[in-house]
């Protein structure tokens, strides 16, 4: 079977799989950031030397992040099936995959955001305070703005991690490249299809890594 024949037979399948993987990953990444940014900000702001120190909130949020992050994704996937069904009405397909992906990724994003914000020079926060900035203004105009290049670098790491998780989520009904690789390669011994999906995974990861690097470098005004 030559390449033309191969793509004739499997091209549509692979394209659909790539798209399914991207769809799961992109939607989950966006949702994980919508939840994760407030989590990360909350941890930084309520820390002992933060803008609004608050022991209890800090401990609870830190605890939620740690617990969720300690559960292996494949276990989490099964563990929260009832929750998934409750939220999207199904445990199948892309919706069924997205819920566990968000649950797993949001705390991870929280940690990434926390780390990026922690890199912001405390002198800048102090300077902003000295000009009469409110806590919200410091969060937006200092913490998030000054750490933007770092946040974007973090985002490509998050994307790649979720993309990896999505391969696992796919095997329980979401479809995508991971699902194709397992079904064809592992269950039917069609190594050519498996190799093609592995190559596609590599391409997707490299593309998003490069986009992240280039974007972060382009907007970073530090030397």
């Amino acid at each position: 079977m030559d390449l033309g024949q191969f793509f004739g037979r499997y091209g549509a399948l692979l394209a659909e799989g790539t798209w399914a993987s991207l769809e799961m990953t992109i939607i989950s990444t966006i949702m994980a950031y919508i939840i994760g940014i407030p989590l990360g900000v909350l941890v930084v702001v309520t820390a002992k030397n933060g803008l609004r120190p608050h022991r209890a909130i800090n401990a609870v949020v830190g605890w939620i992040i740690n617990i969720t992050r300690s559960i292996p994704f494949i276990v989490l996937l099964v563990f929260i099936l009832p929750f998934t069904r409750l939220v999207v009405g199904t445990t199948l397909g892309i919706p069924g995959a997205i819920v566990p992906l968000i649950v797993a990724a949001a705390p991870f994003v929280g940690r990434m955001v926390e780390q990026s914000l922690a890199e912001v020079d405390s002198g800048l926060v102090e300077a902003a305070q000295s000009f009469g900035a409110t806590t919200w203004q410091i969060i937006y105009k200092v913490y998030l703005r000054e750490s933007l290049p770092s946040l974007i670098r973090g985002m490509s790491i998050v994307f790649i991690t979720i993309f990896g998780y999505s391969a696992m989520a796919g095997t329980v009904g979401g479809g995508g490249l991971g699902d194709i690789a397992i079904r064809y390669g592992y269950q039917r011994y069609q190594y050519d299809v498996m190799i093609a999906s592995v190559i596609l995974c590599i391409i997707v990861v490299q593309v998003f890594q490069s986009i992240g690097d280039i974007a972060a470098r382009a907007i970073d005004k530090r030397k």
Binding site: D121, A127, S130, F131, G132, K141, R145, P149, K221
Partner: protein, 269 residues
């Protein structure tokens, strides 16, 4: 006028409370360039940071134009801080903002409209000698230029008071002299009262009309700069003076000129 009365600041440590400031009282008059000198760890930063409540005093009062500010909260606190500019040893410029963006920052906080705040920022950049640098980023500037941007930013809200915490300590001698000249110009032309922390006597001697010496959280001496230098009363001050070998700046100002200059300052005050 800033009146500091019996100011004490305690930090709690494992070994019990530690007084970073102990019963400090002093008065800073409008138009002063008031120097606060002392060794590292003496409590200088703590003292100055109490003036804009970056630190909350443990006890004592701080009156600014007669109003005790130590209990200020919420909007009143933010308004107080707007009326006091501050510059720092490491400049603390926003790295991801242009020079213009740094100077407009305090105005942005007050939701001043864009055209107005950029207009104001340009005027201020002109004052500090950085016209034409609007679109540069801090990482593209020298230390002296960065401190000029920080000074312009500190002036954005038209403060009556400017706090300078070791503002020249990261700069070489020549740049230090230039920045001190600029501060002096601002003090004279804009009537801004300057409170300047330094561990360098040369800096204090160059521009301060009055100084206070702090040691281990306590005020040990206060007075006209010249009096304190000519006739130091406390052993700590004498020690500071004798330890400071680089007392005079190596610019071409003679001692005589300096003395004359001090007289001028005192007449003005």
């Amino acid at each position: 006028m800033i009146e500091i009365e019996h100011l004490t600041k305690l930090y709690s440590a494992n070994t019990g409370d530690h007084a970073a400031l102990h019963n400090v009282s002093l008065t800073i008059n409008d138009g002063d360039i008031f120097g606060i000198i002392g060794q590292s760890g003496a409590g200088k930063s703590t003292l100055v940071r109490c003036i804009n409540l970056l630190e909350q005093p443990s006890s004592g009062k701080i009156l600014i134009d007669g109003n005790d500010i130590t209990h200020y909260k919420g909007k009143q606190l933010l308004a107080l801080r707007e009326s006091i500019g501050m510059i720092f040893q490491n400049f603390s410029l926003f790295q991801q903002r242009t020079v213009l963006g740094n100077v407009t920052f305090p105005l942005e906080l007050r939701h001043e409209n864009k055209a107005k705040r950029e207009q104001r920022a340009k005027e201020l950049l002109d004052v500090v000698g950085l016209a034409g640098y609007e679109q540069r980023y801090p990482s593209e500037l020298s230390g002296g230029q960065q401190q000029r941007v920080a000074i312009a930013r500190a002036l954005a809200n038209d403060p009556k008071i400017m706090l300078c915490d070791e503002a020249t300590s990261a700069l070489d001698t020549r740049t230090t002299v230039a920045i001190l000249d600029l501060l002096q110009e601002i003090n004279r032309n804009l009537g801004v009262t300057i409170v300047l922390i330094t561990h360098s006597l040369a800096v204090a001697q160059k521009i301060c009309n009055r100084i206070a010496v702090i040691d281990d959280g306590k005020l040990v001496e206060e007075g006209k700069t010249r009096d304190v230098f000519d006739n130091p009363k406390s052993p700590i001050t004498r020690e500071l003076i004798s330890n400071d070998s680089s007392m005079a700046f190596s610019d071409n100002e003679t001692t005589e000129e300096k003395a004359k200059f001090q007289e001028l300052r005192e007449e003005e005050a």
